[in-house]
Symmetry: C3
Subunit: 142 residues, 3 copies
């Protein structure tokens, strides 16, 4: 598989909560991090997603929100990955930010230059990557 999704995290399905239209699927990565995805039940059945299935979460860089101060905050986004900025690439409108988590994951985000400035991002800045479960695509080997 070669995909343009800058974030690809492989792990094993650790829980599936089915619903009439959607299912909530949790993936546990080798790093111990957990990624929650909401997929349609049609997809969950088609992929044969069950506890133990190996799957890869695909998340594009523009779907990731970065936070520098989560103090006293809770969000509805099911995925929070904490780490430090390791790379910044600035364009005319957008900045690409790469962060490394303690568990060894590399997370890429595209944010506006104004946000990068406002957050004061630099190499080493502590940041959290916030990803909504409905933004996560799951892939399995057929």
């Amino acid at each position: 598989m070669k995909s343009s999704a800058r974030n690809q995290f492989t792990g094993k399905v650790s829980s599936v909560i089915p619903g009439p239209v959607n299912a909530e699927v949790e993936l546990t990565l080798a790093s111990g991090d957990r990624i929650v995805s909401v997929v349609t039940m049609g997809s969950a059945k088609d992929l044969g997603l069950a506890v133990g299935t190996e799957a890869t979460a695909l998340i594009k860089a523009p779907w990731v929100i970065l936070m520098t101060d989560e103090s006293g905050l809770k969000t509805s986004a099911r995925n929070h990955l904490r780490g430090a900025v390791s790379r910044l690439v600035k364009g005319a409108v957008n900045t690409e930010v790469t962060m490394q988590t303690a568990g060894g994951l590399t997370v890429n985000a595209i944010i506006t230059n104004e946000s990068a400035d406002s957050l004061g991002l630099d190499i080493g800045t502590a940041v959290s990557a916030i990803i909504k479960a409905s933004h996560v695509i799951l892939a399995t080997q057929a």
Copy 2:
């Protein structure tokens, strides 16, 4: 809270429709505007979302569609904010568009240059920001 989401709207929860996997949550802002979000039930419970809870909607600029002519059109996107363009920043591929609503909200969108040209966007152009409920993240104070 400091986040890279260019759109952050604070208000009070005015309705919660629970489901087996997801909940639909409506936020009413001080401006009178309403923002609808679909979050997982896990998040709704974890955040204690109920009528009256103060919460902030986080929406990244690339998740916003702009329309210049909504005449005779209905969309499945639950969030439509009407206003006028107040700022345009053009890059090589993307343009960042800022609009102000009558109620005083500032909404930021990232669209392609081709779309900006095709819509004929200029300072003062009347536009609608269209945002899908499943794209809205909610945050509360812990």
Copy 3:
């Protein structure tokens, strides 16, 4: 309707699966391609979505993942459009990729330059556009 969504596909609703919060709606295009969308039930009712209704799917370019090798892969994304790259516009951070499908659809994606390089994209490269159902907005004439 004039919108900044670079991908607008018009067709007829071919199936609706209702749920307590969300509905899964399938659109069949004139090209024979099918687009699956997850919308809130509130929207499905408001738009009067039923088998036979004409509707347009709106999908922004940053919501599209491109894959060059799908061999042995299944994804939870309900929408897979296969085609070939017809145009590349490179910026400082992002590349805009246009592809044409065999059925005659034009699909636009925004991906990072690093992804464009890593996938080895050039005019004529075979690619698949992967779009999650929860990213698709539906529009109808009022």
